[in-house]
């Protein structure tokens, strides 16, 4: 058979597998997230459908498929109908360059390379993901705008400003890794980590933290889920959507999350490699899965732990903290790479910056004026009778009174 034809067939099969796998993972991510969140809150979570609730995603999917598609009279029909499709298309397409294993995993003949466990290895891999994730904002903005609803429009505007603000930080935060790697290809970055014998998180702890915060905001996850802040905006841009088209938005959010986790695993944690065991078939994929799963777990953990931040805090954090720190990290890393000094110099620098950040945060938290803390009596009055289940004794209220300080350290 012709090599071109083999390559095309292989690409079709692999793409289909990738899409099916992402959809399955999305479905089970929703279940895992609900179960894990339930554990955090000392509940049990959905466990009725099938063993351990394993059939829950299936049940949810069936239910969604048979829901009515409501198109409000005020909606701009065409845009309203296609907006979720744009979102999910962009999310799926961004995954094309994520390597799940070495391109020479099955050997280096053209046929073996065609069936390697990655859809494509392009020279501009990481930029491709950045570019596609910059398109993710369209689905949300158009969906919110076309709904013809106050909440939707506000959610869309917020999310657009939020996503563009954090995108710059992502680009600059990963520049440090690219300097060490010397390539934009995802496969090349993993190979550079093998060659230099380190995971780039060791050289770039600050870069990783900046990337992680910015990526969380970029995929609209808690504590940055302002576009769908339910206290103020009902469900933000999702308000008027129902059934499977609502699911498409959820789907794209989770797939973007998986892509962000994959980028973190590839850039900072050595992708599919660990300890020279990648020669054994299947092992690289296991490493990759473990690394991505850990990052995804941290996403869920943050959602359970951190309160949602205010919009002005969000914009300040993105522009006034992440962006300058990313530029600082960039310049220092450039110095380390350009003057050819050992990589751990940039590690030390990162740790110093992180330590200073920690100290500043701690000091500012201490400095909240006593008057800003509610008195016991005020706290007692603030709670409506219906939720006053616990007697507020002074030790408990002291613990509660510190809560507002944690929410807004400034």
């Amino acid at each position: 058979m012709d090599a071109t034809l083999v390559a095309i067939i292989a690409a079709v099969v692999k793409s289909a597998i990738v899409i099916a796998a992402l959809l399955t993972i999305f479905a089970y991510m929703t279940l895992i997230e609900r179960r894990v969140l339930a554990r955090f809150q000392r509940r049990v979570g959905p466990n009725r459908a099938g063993p351990f609730g394993l059939l829950q995603p299936l049940a949810d999917g069936m239910k969604m498929a048979f829901k009515e598609q409501i198109i409000p009279t005020r909606a701009r029909r065409l845009v309203f109908v296609i907006a979720p499709s744009i979102s999910v298309f962009v999310a799926l397409a961004a995954f094309a360059v994520v390597p799940l294993g070495s391109p020479t995993a099955w050997g280096s003949s053209p046929t073996a390379r065609a069936w390697a466990p990655l859809v494509a290895d392009v020279n501009v891999g990481i930029l491709y993901i950045l570019a596609l994730s910059s398109l993710a904002v369209y689905g949300i903005v158009l969906g919110g705008w076309s709904s013809g609803n106050h909440y939707s429009l506000l959610g869309a505007l917020r999310s657009a400003a939020q996503m563009v603000s954090y995108e710059v930080s992502i680009g600059l935060a990963i520049a440090g890794v690219l300097m060490f790697a010397g390539t934009l290809s995802m496969v090349g970055i993993v190979q550079a980590q093998v060659q230099q014998g380190i995971w780039f998180i060791l050289a770039q702890p600050l870069g990783f933290i900046l990337y992680f915060i910015a990526a969380t905001a970029e995929v609209n996850r808690a504590p940055f889920d302002l576009p769908e802040a339910e206290q103020e905006l009902v469900a933000g841009y999702l308000t008027e959507f129902s059934g499977l088209r609502w699911s498409l938005y959820q789907m794209s959010e989770y797939i973007n999350m998986i892509t962000a986790a994959s980028v973190a695993a590839t850039l900072f944690f050595g992708g599919w490699t660990l300890g020279g065991l990648d020669g054994i078939p299947g092992i690289p994929f296991v490493w990759y899965t473990i690394k991505v799963a850990v990052v995804l777990f941290v996403f869920i953990w943050m959602r359970a732990t951190l309160p949602r931040i205010r919009y002005d805090q969000l914009m300040r954090l993105g522009w006034q903290l992440l962006l300058p720190l990313a530029v600082l990290n960039l310049v220092v890393t450039a110095a380390v790479v350009a003057f050819d000094v050992p990589w751990w110099i940039s590690t030390i620098f990162s740790l110093i910056v992180l330590a200073i950040g920690g100290i500043v945060y701690y000091v500012r938290r201490r400095r909240v004026e006593p008057s800003a803390q509610p008195s016991d009596e005020a706290l007692r009055l603030a709670l409506p009778t219906s939720v006053r289940l616990v007697r507020i004794d002074s030790s408990a209220s002291a613990a509660t009174a510190r809560q507002p300080a944690e929410v807004s350290p400034n």
Binding site: I8, V124, A131, L135, V141, W145, L157, V164
Partner: protein
């Protein structure tokens, strides 16, 4: 059986590109026109990929589709007229625009067919693509290395241009 993949890809992309570009002009609602503009940028990126200009293709998507069009959408959504039924009306002078387009197209076709720089010479440009690390590294060397081509000065001047743009953005966005 052989498939001429680049040729197939070119025709698919070209049809999408021209169709979307026409749609940008004729769509009666301006938001739809802006959406087709995204498709135009995406298809143009596809053409760049066919020309082995990967970096330009990605930047096309990143900057034009991902940033400039977002700004256009912002501007459309922030103004009131976007709700009206015909927000992208035809100008009375559409025939003049059409005439200019035809003349421009004729000029481009003539230039492509007669210039020694065009089609026939394309194969000379290919070594660039086969350089180690692809066109991005080669492009970077041309841009940033003073020993190769030296576009270092224009690169630094570009930062001054961006500086002016930042100040301009602040002046435009004044609230008072």
């Amino acid at each position: 059986m052989t498939i001429d993949v680049p040729a197939v890809a070119f025709w698919v992309i070209a049809i999408i590109l021209v169709g979307s570009a026409l749609a940008v002009v004729v769509m009666p609602k301006i938001v739809h026109a802006a959406l087709f503009l995204v498709a135009v940028f995406g298809a143009a990126a596809g053409i760049y990929v066919l020309l082995n200009a990967e970096f330009i293709a990605i930047v096309q998507v990143l900057i034009y589709a991902g940033a400039v069009t977002i700004l256009i959408l912002f501007a459309i959504m922030l103004t009131q007229n976007s709700m009206s039924r015909v927000s992208n009306p035809f100008s009375g002078q559409w025939w003049l625009a059409g005439l200019i387009c035809v003349l421009l197209a004729a000029g481009i076709i003539f230039a492509v067919n007669s210039s020694p720089m065009a089609a026939g010479a394309a194969s000379d440009a290919l070594p660039l693509a086969n350089a180690a690390g692809g066109t991005v590294v080669k492009l970077g060397q041309l841009l940033y290395s003073p020993f190769a081509y030296s576009y270092v000065l224009p690169f630094e001047i570009a930062s001054v241009v961006l500086l002016v743009a930042i100040v301009g953005a602040i002046m435009i966005g004044r609230e008072e």
